[in-house]
Symmetry: C2
């Protein structure tokens, strides 16, 4: 069966996010009020052919660890809808 | 009150996603089986100070339309946990 898996890769909370800071400045320049913090990461959608949800999740986690996320700067979350 | 809003910005389904294609090749090189498609977009987390969930969502949608997503190439989804 084919599963659609979402992987969210975000900068670690302890680290500065210069891209987020830049967007924050852009929002202020547009006059958009109320935004206090912006953090920007990646969203990766995988279509995975696997026998079960668990197996699909396992493949997505391995892909995240080995290729998609850099653990020095990022954390990831895997979810299957 | 402060709300945490997630914005997912993804390449339109009709369009090629060269970054996703490259990652797909990388996964194959690592010997990771089962992945049929990879699409890569952005995940943006906003911390928004607003009076209500609806108001926070409205600010996030305006930010997406005016700055975060390029409608020619991307679609966005706003969600509040």
């Amino acid at each position: 069966m084919t599963y659609t898996v979402q992987i969210k890769v975000m900068p670690l909370k302890e680290l500065l996010d210069p891209q987020g800071k830049a967007v924050m400045g852009g929002l202020e320049n547009l006059g958009l009020m109320g935004v206090e913090e912006v953090r920007i990461g990646k969203n990766i959608t995988l279509r995975i052919n696997a026998d079960s949800t668990e197996k699909a999740k396992q493949i997505a986690e391995e892909a995240s660890k080995r290729l998609l996320a850099n653990p020095v700067m990022e954390y990831f979350e895997v979810s299957i809808n």
